[in-house]
Structures are given as C-alpha cells and as structure tokens.
C-alpha cells in the first residue's frame, strides 16, 4: 500500500501517460512470516467452507500449528539471516519495517500464539456432551443461549472451529502491528487483529451471556479507541503531510524546512503534532491496557473464553507495546521531552492503580486482568527509559511475561466445577491439598508475577527497572517497587488460599488435561524458570534486537 507511489502518480500525471505506473515492489522473503500466517488464515477459511464438519477440528489445528511453526521458522531464518541487525530494512515500500524489534516481537507473538492455539484446541477438560468432545467454545455461537437451536447444535456435536481462522487473522494483524512503519499500516493492522478478537471473545461455551457482554464492551470501546487513534493519525498527517514514520520523524526534527506558505497553518504546526500524538498514544495505551484506558480489561478478561483471554493478555500486549515502542523511538524521538513526562504519569497511575485495585478482587480472572494492568505499568517504565537498554528490557519482559500469563490462564482452565471453570477465588481454597502439583505450578506463575527472584518475572522486572534507573527515571523505580510490594500481597493471598486454607467440601475438581494444555503449561513453567535462572542468552537476543531501523 505505497502511498508515495500514488503520490508520484498524482504529481507527474500531467506529463506522463498512465501506463507508466511502476508496480509496487514487495520483499516477499522479509514479509514471509506475515504472509505465511495470512495464507494459512485464508486456507482455514476455506477449510471451514469445504471440509466436512467431522474433519474440520483436526484440519484446523493441524493447519494453524503448522502455519505458525512455519512462520516462526521464517522469523528465525530472517533473524539468522541478519535481517534483525545488519540487513535490517524497510520493506513493502515503506509500509513495514523488518528489523530487530520487529522480528523479536514477531517471534514472541508466534510462540505465544502456538501455545495459545494448543489451549484453543483442548477438548479434554469438560466431559463429552452427547458423546461429542467439547472445547471451550460454543457449539454454535450464533444460537441464542439456552435456545432449542443451541441444544440441537450441541446434540449434533457442532463446534466453533471458526476460532482458528479468526485467531490466525488476529495473529497476522499482530505480526504487522509492531512492524508497521507508517500510521496507516498501523491502523489497519490494529483493526485486523482487533476485529477477530472481538469475535473470539463472544464465543464462550459456558457463561455465554457474560461472554457476549465482554464482546460488546470490548468492541464498542475498541472501536471508540481506534476512532481516537485514527483522528490522531489524521492530525499527524496534517502536521507532516505524510503518514510514513520516517517523514514524520524528519518533520519533527525540523529537517524539512521548505514549508509551503499555504500550509503555514498546518505543516509543522506543533499543536497538530502534539494533539495528534496524544490521540494516537491514547489508542495504543488502550490496547496496552494502561490506566485510565484499562477499564475494559477486567470485564473482557473475565467474560472471554479463558484460552482467548490468555491469548489476548499475552499476544495483544506484545504487539501493542511493540507498536508503542516504534512510535516513540522512531517517529517521535525528537519529542522525547514532550512525551516522557506524560508517560511518567501514565506509568505511575498504571502501576499503582493496577496493584491497588487488584487487592480486593474475588475472581481469579479479574485478578489476573488487574495484574496485567500493573505489569503494563512496569513495561511503561522500561519504555520511558528511552535508551536501547530500555528497548531490550521491554522486549525481554514481554517475552517473559507472555509465557507466564498464558501458563497461568491455562491453569485457570483446569480448575472446574459444575458451572465450568471455577474462577471465584473462594473456590480455590485448599487446592494445594487436593492437587499439589497444579497448585504448585500456579504458585510458580504467581511468584513470577510477583517478581520473586529465580523466576522470569524477577529478571524482567530487574531489567526494566535497571533500564529505567539508568535512563534517569529513578523515581519510577521507587514507585514500581512500592506497587510490586502491594501487588505481592494479592498474589500471596491466592497462595495462602491454595495451600493454607482447608479445602471446601463442594470445592472444584482439577480436570486432567490432554497433552495440549499440559504442553502449554509445561512450556510456561520451563520458560519461567529458565528465564529466571539463566536469562543471559535471551537478554543477548533482546540486546541484539534492540535497534530500530529508521
């Protein structure tokens, strides 16, 4: 989508015949990860269309995992090929950057997606219904909850295998999001991964009303925020006369001096710039889930099917922070002194707000939602550092965090009672007595969230705080430390509940998952501990990947 091409067309049209339009030049190899996933997504739509119902599940899972793995392989290949560092470049005629951060984040997203897809595909947790295996998704999302139609669908053993193509589209969008190198691409990518997520939120099998409510809220607020984003883009466009990061950056730096007097009102008008920037920022902070743009998070996390929640919590955050980093470091480095104080404020309220409100939560999924808000705050601290160390620390943190989150939500899917997942904290009492292993695993994740040493959570937090302190944001570190002290309280509360309180008679049972979820959880634990004990290798990766191409 080369706007510049079109532009040249417009300006030269008078003298040159139209058939001289140069075809846009696309670097397919560099874009292969995205292309692979998109192709897979389209294919899986076709699967939905043509493969008979019985075969779909297997086909979809196979296709998705295969595609994601292939895409990941492609990312690794590109990174190995030096596209992350030396050969970093801007592909697709300025639309997409292929550089260290992009590849690192895409890799992270893909890995997270793979394990998430495993949880999507889990069908062992609930007892078979009418002899049909069931997963976490409604038999027929369109059917009214509790209606005859739904019953029929259940009896017929329908399953919403559409979640796979939806997920694939979302993933494709997420892959583009952090790599987007012009605001339009940014916007489109945002929508591409948001819309499928809205739908994914709506298709829970149990508690469908809540699921739909979550979808509505997410959708309306999401659309609202993307409207802000878009208006911000418009203003920035008005400011710089282009949406490409490079151009805007140049204008911001004052590199472009030849201002057409006719445009004096707009071109290079800082008010446009600042307002536009603020609105774009608002859009991104919404996705990140930063206070005060966080309020959708708890409701959506609670209502959405837990596998989807895990997927959102991990992948969306990665993608959104990637985009945020690129925006701040590539487009607005000249504006650092304008955005830093603002971000300081956001980071502080986010850290504290998330931690404080979490204390009084009674639902495990909401609790994790608030914890994710607090973590967004910590990440922002790293973003604010405005140094390469800051970038790499954020990258590392995202990697570490996403696996902990997915693992944690995967564990949540296991604890079930008659009404599906037993997410109310009181139900978790004495879990440690009934099934020590699961409880222990969940405890590990909680400790990682709390940032206890020897877990990935600590390495990440340390990296981020270190970067922040280095970048002169010592005060942020202190606030961060305080809020993690507060946060520690509610993670510990859950541990107390699981291990030190007597099991309830009507307590939930812990379902024995299939290899898929087991794999997810194991991956989560392994990554958590490895990144906690020996993070150096991954820190190196993050360091190498910490340079944006301009």
């Amino acid at each position: 989508m080369s706007t510049t091409a079109v532009h040249s067309l417009w300006t030269t049209a008078a003298v040159e015949p139209l058939n001289k339009i140069p075809a846009p030049h696309i670097e397919y190899t560099q874009l292969s990860p995205v292309l692979i996933v998109l192709t897979a997504a389209i294919l899986s739509v076709l699967v939905e269309a043509f493969v008979p119902r019985k075969g779909r599940y297997v086909a979809q899972v196979f296709l998705s995992v295969l595609a994601l793995a292939a895409a990941f392989a492609a990312v690794v290949g590109l990174a190995a090929g030096g596209y992350g560092s030396t050969k970093a470049q801007i592909a697709a005629m300025g639309a997409i950057a292929v550089d260290g951060p992009a590849l690192f984040l895409q890799g992270t997203i893909l890995l997270a997606s793979i394990v998430s897809v495993f949880t999507f595909a889990e069908r062992r947790l609930d007892p078979a219904d009418h002899g049909h295996k069931v997963d976490s998704f409604a038999a027929e999302a369109a059917a009214v909850p509790g209606s005859e139609q739904e019953k029929a669908a259940v009896k017929a053993g329908f399953t919403t295998t559409e979640v796979f193509p939806l997920a694939l589209f979302a993933i494709a969008g997420m892959l583009v999001f952090p790599a987007a190198n012009d605001l339009l691409t940014l916007f489109v990518a945002l929508e591409v991964f948001s819309l499928p997520l809205y739908l994914l939120c709506a298709v829970a099998r149990r508690k469908r009303l809540m699921s739909q409510e979550a979808a509505v809220k997410y959708f309306l607020l999401g659309a609202f925020s993307s409207a802000f984003l878009l208006f911000g883009i418009a203003l920035l466009y008005g400011y710089a006369g282009s949406v490409s990061y490079a151009t805007i950056a140049r204008v911001v730096d004052g590199a472009v001096v030849s201002v057409d007097p006719a445009l004096a009102g707009t071109m290079g008008n800082d008010v446009l710039l600042l307002i536009g920037f603020a609105m774009v920022l608002a859009g991104l902070l919404f996705k990140v889930g930063a206070v005060p743009f966080h309020m959708w998070t708890p409701d959506v996390y609670q209502g959405a099917p837990t596998p989807v929640t895990g997927f959102m919590a991990a992948a969306t955050k990665v993608a959104a922070f990637g985009a945020l980093l690129r925006l701040l470091y590539v487009v607005l480095p000249g504006l650092t002194w304008d955005w830093r104080p603002v971000m300081w404020g956001v980071a502080i309220v986010t850290m504290l707000g998330g931690a404080i409100v979490a204390i009084t939560q009674t639902d495990i999924k909401r609790l994790l939602a608030y914890s994710s808000i607090a973590h967004a705050g910590f990440l922002l601290a790293g973003v604010i550092a405005a140094t390469p160390a800051g970038i790499s620390s954020v990258l590392f943190y995202l990697g570490a965090y996403s696996f902990v989150t997915i693992g944690a939500f995967a564990v949540v899917t296991l604890v079930r009672d008659a009404g599906g997942e037993a997410t109310h904290l009181s139900k978790w009492a004495g879990l440690g007595r009934r099934s020590p292993l699961v409880a222990a695993v969940f405890a590990v994740f909680l400790l990682a969230f709390a940032g206890i040493p020897l877990t990935s959570g600590f390495s990440g937090k340390f990296a981020v705080f270190k970067a922040a302190a280095d970048g002169g944001a010592g005060a942020l570190v202190v606030v961060g430390v305080l809020s993690s002290a507060i946060a520690a309280f509610f993670y510990i509360r859950v541990i107390v509940l699981m291990f030190f309180s007597e099991p309830k008679a009507d307590g939930p049972t812990v379902a024995v998952p299939s290899a898929l979820t087991t794999l997810t959880i194991t991956a989560g634990v392994v990554v958590t501990l490895v990144l906690g004990l020996a993070p150096q290798y991954f820190l190196n990766l993050a360091n190498q990947a910490s340079v944006f191409v301009r």
């Binding site: 007595r433 009934r434 099934s435 020590p436 292993l437 400790l447 206890i452 040493p453 020897l454 600590f458 390495s459 340390f462 990296a463 705080f465 270190k466 302190a469 280095d470 010592g474 570190v477 202190v478 430390v481 305080l482 993690s484 002290a485 520690a488 309280f489 510990i492 509360r493 107390v496 291990f499 030190f500 309180s501 007597e502 099991p503 020996a534 993070p535 150096q536 820190l539 190196n540 360091n543």
Partner: protein, 526 residues
C-alpha cells in the same frame, strides 16, 4: 578454577531437598532419614570449609567466580571470610538438630489425599532454606546475595504457614487463620524490605556498574568510584532497611513474635537462629563493606534503635504469656545486642557481634527446642498452663534451665563471651550506650527466671502430672547443643581465631581504629 567446595555446601542440601520432596507419600520415614543424612553430609562439608579456611590468608577464600548474567553485571561469585565460615558452620550445625527435633511435626494427622505429602515437603523445605542460607553467606556478589535473600522467603513462608504449631489455643480454623496471618506478615514484611533493597541494588548498579563486592570495594579504595554522599546514604538506607527487617530491629520487629509463635518450635529456631542471621551478617558485610561513610553517618541513629530493641524486647519478653512469643522477644533483645556490636565499630564489638550470631543461634535453639518438646507434651503454649514440671520431668527442666541460663548469658556458657565483648566494644566508643545495654543483662535474668519459675517450679499442676521426661531422640537433640554451648563458653578461641582477621578487614573497610586505652600500659601489650 579449583574444586567448587562452597558451591557444594549449598548444592548438597538443595539436591537433598529435591530428592526428599520426591519420596513417595507412603515412605514418610525414609524421607526423614534422607533429610537427616543430607544435613549431616552438609555438616561434614561445612567442617571441611572450616578446616580449609586459613585465618591468616586472603580476606575471601575458596573463591569461585563464574559469569552469570552479563547484562546485569552479575557474576556467580562466591567466597568466605571468617564471619561467613562461622555462620556457615552454625547453619550446618543446627539443621540436623532442627530436623531431628521436628521429626514428627509434619506427620499428617489424617491422609487428606494420596498426593498430599506434608512430611516430605516439610523436610525438603528445611533443606532448601539451608541451601539458600549457606549460599547467601558465601555470596560476594550483591545481586546473587539479593536473589537468595529474597528467594529464601518462599520456603520459609511455606514452613511457617503450612506447618503450624499443633499446640494452640482455640479452634483449628482460628489457629489456621492466625498461622496464615503470621506467615503472610512474615512474607510481606520481608518482601517489602527486600523490594526497597531491590531499588537500592539497582541504584548501586547505576552507580557502580557491577555487583562484585570485591571490585566495588577496590574501586572505592582507589578512588576510581566515588559516590556522592547523598547517593551513598540513600543506598545504605535501602540496604539497611531490608536487613533491619530481617534482623529484626525495633520498630520493624513485630513479624517475629507472630511467626515464631505460630510456627513449630524447630521452624521457629530456623527463623531466629539461622535465617535472621542473614540480616545481621549482611549489615556487617554489605552495609559496612559497601557504604562505609554512610554507615558511620547512620551509626548514632542505629545505636539508639539497637538500644531500644535491647530494652524493649526484654521488657516485652517479661510481659508475654506465651512461651514461644517470650523467646521471640528475647531474640529481638539479643539482635539488638548484635546490631549494637556491629555498629560500635570496634574490633571487640564486631567480633563479639559475630560470635553473638553463632552463640545466640545455638542457645536459642537449645531453649526453644526444649520448650517445643514441653509444649508438644502438654499441648499448650501458655506459661500459665504449666507448673512444677521440674518434679515430673527433671531432665527436661534441667536442660531448659541451661538453655535459659545461656540466654541470660551466664559466664561459662557461650553467649556470655559474645555479650561481654559487645558490651566492652560498645563502651569503648559509646560509654553511655554501653551502660544502657548492660541493663539488658538484668532484664534477661528477669524474663528467663520468671519463665523458669512459672513453668518448672512450684506445686505440680494437674495437667502436667505424668508428662514423660525427655526421650532418646530429644536428648540427642539437646545434649550436643548444650555441650557446644559449654565448650564455646570456656574455649571460644577456635571461633575467635577465624573471626578476628575478618573483623580486621571490616574495620579497615570503615577506616576505624579501636580507641586506645587512656592509660598506656606496658603489661597490657603481652
């Protein structure tokens, strides 16, 4: 790189912990024996360290140094000085007795679920704590130390909250509630302390660029690294706060009585005799070692707090109605002495403080474990529920008395040596403080003797009648401890010999000299 002896001292218990945890539910006794053997093996290793260490040699010996997290400037850097050796010895010495004393503490009352294995967990956790504590005594890398300092909270937390004292007043739910309250209080206090320290650790990195104690000290010495006064003070406070919570120093002490009261006696010993020592040890090694100027700046305030701890702890001990809480407050008083000795900045004070850590560990263990045996017999922690035990179980009473006498630091028992050194060392620089601290010895006598009188003497209470005297296992716990107390009381030289050089180094860290006697004396020299 030579043979990694120090790593081994920590690796053995760590491995042992994992193995113990892996023992199947039915084979409970096997797990116990395994844990005991592992702890004994650790003791042997500690003994080897003790022997291999040359008092006259380098400051840090048996060093190991491997890259760990380059990005954070973190290295896996180990090394022991005399102080570390002494405390490693203490830890390794106490753990077997703690395990032995807690032999039945974690036997499940009824089998909750086939996969629920409290016993294995209990002993595994104890070994895990041992591993972390020992390693933290060996770490010469600030970050490595911090990691252990924080990480050891988790097993401790489970030990406190998961295996409460079965002798409690009130219903089980109530007890469970109090227990988890104590555990959470313990964790939060120490976690907050630790997090504040984390901020300081990061600050240190920003200032110094690495975490190696030796390198930073060297850099400060040759002036290549000089901290701004305020920076140094802030960092010092960050570190000191964490250590003061752990130690614990008034007014950050309130978690200790809860924790020690609710935990089983062996765990209580583990807390006060072993884990808390990390705090005081760290003051000596990190606060003084990294921030000499700031330490001197803060000394007056800290000495005041220490004095308050001494008197306040003792007075509250007198006021307690619960045996274990009484011992806890007594410990607070003793930690006051230790901190006083450290910040007196004299050789006697600091050597005394180090010995004090060791001796207090052993004496408290003796007292607390016997108290635990008594409590487990009668099923109550309230002093008022006892009386005339001495007539029923003379040996128990006798050992209890010896433990008590050690606590009030009677000459001839180890604590006297350290306490007197601390007092002398303090007096030499701060006479008033020295004198105030001396009142502690009267108060100590008060709470110990009151406790002994109320529980052991007088007419035999009805419920106490027929309590069995100490069993073989219990004697095996108490007798060696008492033997050590007496030995170190009359012949502390082996300890002082390794501690003194280390203290010399610390003194040179803070560029302090002992105040010289006002009357120069010829005979004093020899």
């Amino acid at each position: 790189m030579s043979f990694p002896l120090l790593t081994l001292t920590a690796a053995v218990p760590a491995a042992g912990a994992i193995l113990t945890a892996a023992v199947p539910a039915a084979r409970r006794t096997a797990a116990k024996w395994l844990a005991l053997l592992v702890s004994l093996a650790t003791l042997v290793l500690a003994a080897v360290v003790f022997v291999r260490f040359e008092p006259g040699g380098d400051r840090y010996q048996l060093t190991e140094n491997h890259a760990w997290i380059k990005d954070f400037g973190v290295r896996y850097e180990l090394g022991v000085d005399g102080i570390g050796v002494a405390l490693i010895a203490l830890t390794a010495l106490l753990i077997p007795f703690i395990i032995l004393a807690g032999w039945h503490d974690a036997d499940p009352l009824e089998t909750k679920s086939p996969r629920w294995r409290p016993t294995q967990g209990f002993f595994a956790l104890i070994l895990m704590v041992e591993a972390m504590v020992i390693l933290s005594f060996e770490a010469t890398d600030v970050f490595l130390f911090y990691v252990l300092f924080e990480a050891m909270l988790i097993p401790m937390y489970f030990l406190i909250g998961g295996f409460g004292d079965r002798a409690h007043s009130g219903s089980d739910e109530n007890a469970a509630a109090q227990r988890s309250y104590a555990a959470v209080k313990f964790l939060l206090y120490n976690l907050v302390g630790g997090l504040i320290m984390l901020a300081a650790v990061i600050g240190l990195y920003v200032v110094a660029g690495n975490f190696s104690l030796t390198e930073i000290a060297a850099a400060r010495a040759d002036g290549s690294l000089d901290m701004a006064t305020n920076t140094e003070r802030l960092l010092f406070l960050g570190f000191f706060f964490a250590f003061a919570v752990k130690a614990p120093l008034w007014p950050l002490h309130t978690w200790l009585p809860n924790a020690m009261g609710e935990a089983t006696a062996p765990v209580a010993v583990l807390i006060t005799a072993v884990v808390d020592k990390v705090g005081t040890f760290a003051m000596l090694r990190f606060c003084l070692g990294l921030f000499p100027e700031a330490s001197k700046w803060a000394t007056p305030a800290i000495i005041v707090l220490a004095l308050i701890s001494i008197v306040y702890g003792a007075l509250l001990a007198v006021g307690q109605r619960d045996i274990k809480r009484l011992v806890a407050y007594a410990s607070i008083s003793h930690f006051g002495f230790i901190i006083l000795g450290i910040f007196a900045m004299t050789t006697q004070g600091q050597s005394g403080a180090t010995l004090y850590m060791v001796n207090h560990g052993i004496s408290t263990a003796a007292l607390m474990l016997v108290a635990g045996f008594l409590i487990s017999r009668r099923g109550s922690r309230l002093i008022a529920d006892y009386g005339g035990v001495q007539k029923v179980a003379p040996v128990l009473a006798g050992t209890f008395l010896i433990g008590g006498l050690a606590t009030l630091s009677l000459p001839g028992l180890a604590p006297f040596v350290s306490e007197f050194l601390v007092l002398v060392g303090t007096y030499a620089r701060y006479p008033v403080a020295g004198i105030i601290a001396t009142t502690g010895i009267v108060l100590a006598a008060l709470y110990v003797l009151v406790l002994y009188q109320r529980t052991m003497t007088g007419p035999v209470k009805e419920e106490v009648r027929g309590l069995p005297d100490l069993r073989v296992r219990e004697l095996a716990v108490v007798v060696p401890l008492i033997a050590v107390l007496i030995f170190l009381g009359v012949f502390p030289k082996p300890l002082t010999d390794i501690v003194n050089p280390a203290v010399q180094h610390t003194m040179s860290d803070v560029q302090q000299k002992d105040p010289q006697p006002t009357v120069p004396n010829v005979e004093a020299a020899q």
